[in-house]
């Protein structure tokens, strides 16, 4: 595995953390959304990470060797039940005065956003370390 392909692995990590941050932003922006095109309140979306398929294929073809190709993420909708709040004045209130609010907990989202931002930083740090390794390798035999 060359140093440049390690950079691709870091890039995939950055992409995935960015997607996670996007979804958190989307969730927090829609924390009061009670209407969606699908009907009902907005549902929380989360990013689920998995190793890329190429990793698994490489590993089964070359057991005992590291063959990484990074991570990939997909968007999953959280199926937790909507939050029922009593608010008879709300235009979307039902007969009993209950409004279905999105199943989003602000504290969870904020903690997730901190995790995502730190993980993004960690990937950048790995990238920089890889770069300094490559630059160091270029000085072999000099001086």
């Amino acid at each position: 595995m060359s140093l440049l392909s390690i950079m691709d692995v870091s890039a995939s990590g950055l992409n995935c953390e960015k997607l996670r941050m996007e979804l958190i932003a989307q969730n927090i922006a829609n924390i009061e959304t009670t209407k969606t095109s699908a009907g009902g309140p907005y549902r929380r979306q989360v990013a689920v990470f998995k190793e890329t398929l190429r990793n698994e294929l490489n590993r089964s073809a070359n057991p005992g060797k590291f063959m990484g190709a990074g991570v990939q993420a997909k968007i999953v909708t959280d199926n937790a039940p909507a939050l029922m709040v009593y608010d008879p004045q709300h235009p979307d209130a039902g007969q009993d005065g209950m409004v279905a609010k999105p199943n989003i907990n602000l504290a969870n989202e904020i903690v997730d956003s901190i995790t995502a931002s730190r993980a993004y930083g960690a990937n950048v740090t790995v990238f920089n370390a890889t770069k300094s390794m490559a630059l160091k390798a270029l000085t072999v035999g000099r001086g």
Binding site: L4, M7, A11, L14, N15, K18, F127, A134, L135, L138
Partner: protein, 105 residues
């Protein structure tokens, strides 16, 4: 030093170059009949394509295409590293060339 012994030394050096070239060919395993120049131009082509990637991503980013900042920066870093490596290889080659041209026979 007589010329025949120098000749045999040159022959040995030539052998070393040939074997290193062969091992490069093994790595590439594309064709057995590649010479050093072809390998060099192939590598230069790769460096060039990295530079082009970086250029394209930077342009797209500036124009407002959906390019992530990190994608652009990583492409630029890759191009930078590849260029540095190329310069390093050029320096080595020039050094070797100078050593040979300075050889007194």
């Amino acid at each position: 030093m007589n010329i025949s012994s120098l000749n045999s030394k040159l022959y040995a050096a030539n052998n070393i170059f040939t074997t290193s070239r062969d091992s490069q060919n093994d790595l590439k395993s594309a064709s057995a009949s590649k010479n050093f120049g072809q390998i060099l131009s192939q590598q230069l082509e790769e460096v060039n394509s990295l530079q082009k990637d970086a250029d394209r991503l930077t342009e797209d980013f500036l124009v407002g295409e959906p390019v992530e900042i990190h994608q652009m920066l990583i492409a630029m870093e890759k191009a930078d590293l590849a260029l540095r490596q190329t310069v390093e290889i050029r320096n080595k080659m020039l050094e070797a060339y100078k050593q040979i041209t300075n050889m007194q026979i």
